[in-house]
Symmetry: C2
Amino acid sequence: MKEWLMNEILGLDDVEALARDALKRAGASDRAAASVARSTRAAERDSIRSHGLMYVPIYAEHLRCGKVEGLAEPEVHRPKPSAVRVDAKDGFAHPAIDAGFDSLIEAATAQGIAAMTVHNSYNCGVLGHHAERIADAGLLGLCFTNAPASIAPWGGKTPVVGTNPFALGVPDGAGGATLVIDQSASAIAKSEIMLRAREGRAIEEGWAFDATGAPTTDAEAALKGSMAPAGGYKGFGAGLMVEVFAAALAGATLGKDASPFSGPLGGPPRTGQCFIAVETGALSGGAFGARIEDLAAAIADQDGARLPGSTRAAARARTEADGVIVPQDLLERIINS
Amino acid sequence: MKEWLMNEILGLDDVEALARDALKRAGASDRAAASVARSTRAAERDSIRSHGLMYVPIYAEHLRCGKVEGLAEPEVHRPKPSAVRVDAKDGFAHPAIDAGFDSLIEAATAQGIAAMTVHNSYNCGVLGHHAERIADAGLLGLCFTNAPASIAPWGGKTPVVGTNPFALGVPDGAGGATLVIDQSASAIAKSEIMLRAREGRAIEEGWAFDATGAPTTDAEAALKGSMAPAGGYKGFGAGLMVEVFAAALAGATLGKDASPFSGPLGGPPRTGQCFIAVETGALSGGAFGARIEDLAAAIADQDGARLPGSTRAAARARTEADGVIVPQDLLERIINS
């Protein structure tokens, strides 16, 4: 093992190796560790630090406490020509997605559209990276993943769906993505409320409700209540759409019944994912590429506006050249995990 | 023709016949008139008056000015096993959707998932009714339709996408829908801003921006500017997802280039739709129905919350029993249209 303690600026290869080694020490198979470590690298590369190295000690804890089965061998089924179903077997989501990915791409290319569901799974990291991977394969990708419940139906007070993001990856026809949308159903990330609670600071109006369903600016009360959906009832609607695809259609555990993605308690969350891939040529009569170019330019050319995904792309250019700064205490936690 | 002038409470059969007769007089083929009239009936049945009889004089105007080709014969192609592509030929969306619908259901049932795109189309009325129709056929339906641009990218000021709704129809396994989500990307319906402008009233904060991109409460300034997306940048993201499916994937006209859905100018809008239908048994390993029942109960059983689609279902029960009240002046406009 390298002497990580001396480094605080890491290249992306080192980020990936650091994550892979820690996951293997905690009990992940070579394949699972490699797959999750690639996602850690991609998150750090795009400056999505919440899903980067910061998550590695949590993954390691979850391997050790049995929340994730490190040696799980995902099973891939193809019950219909356009349908791929993967059982993650209580392991990480990433190797399960890897296991079915080629079938998904092959099916969508041949049939025009295909779907892959994953059940007995776990959180899948940055959902947009899976959408981008489908776009990199030349297909349009629409992805859903569910999470333990934190958002109540509009007018109610008991959480039913999680922050449940959807992601869209739009291919550029040249092995990359023109744009990537990746957005959760909540007004703000739950991690921001948890941070404020730890620091004893108030949260903004419109972020959360307390356990009685009333709006609150108290971070602790918010954590005992529910997250506000983005755009009121429409945010709940978006989260519910995701729950229908990622949980019900996958035959996975509903967010309201899933164990938390944080902490060692509750056993495997057994949440799910759904990935839809579309071959764009047949359905658009060959017009897709030109329309996307036109649409993307109408956004990117406006002062003050940005194409979804462009912030991540800019970070990528920086970190690939300069590496990432990793706090010494995080490095130590990973090495000792 | 019946003596409509004496009636102000109409049964739903009469609503449908009134719409059908007016559309035929304005130049629609029997098939197109029947298809659009069914949608008018469904809108009045569910008390979605903006898309009910109120729209019939606009449809008639658009038939007469050439914005809609009343005698169009939609063309259905099946370029891949899971892909159906319909050319609406500048006619109404409804008969084009009807023309491909059976192929969509057959393809999805056999393959696991299928998509149908429609181009050279027009607005398709209540999107949720198409999602519900897919659910009634026992499949999960996800639908997209684009509209002339009215929402600017977050931080920009020039509209790029329309109010672009998506709709989800979730089958109940017994020939109906457990829930139907049908929501636009904007904070408020554009018709509400147009109403306020006509009445000289201010609009609420958070509904719209003026032409410089600044928030406004002036309804006239809002109509010259852009609509606010629901939930800020996430509402724009939802509208952009819809634009990618309904316009780019359909090979239809982008919202930024489409002629308006109101008024006689600009020729056919040639906007588009995309419908995804999913056979839920294969992808969920048979678990879909039980999960949906559990999920729906967790919403419907909460005080103050409601299952998406339940307001429409309640209206339906009322209007099927009691009919709908139609203002005399609207009746006269339809009869004279």
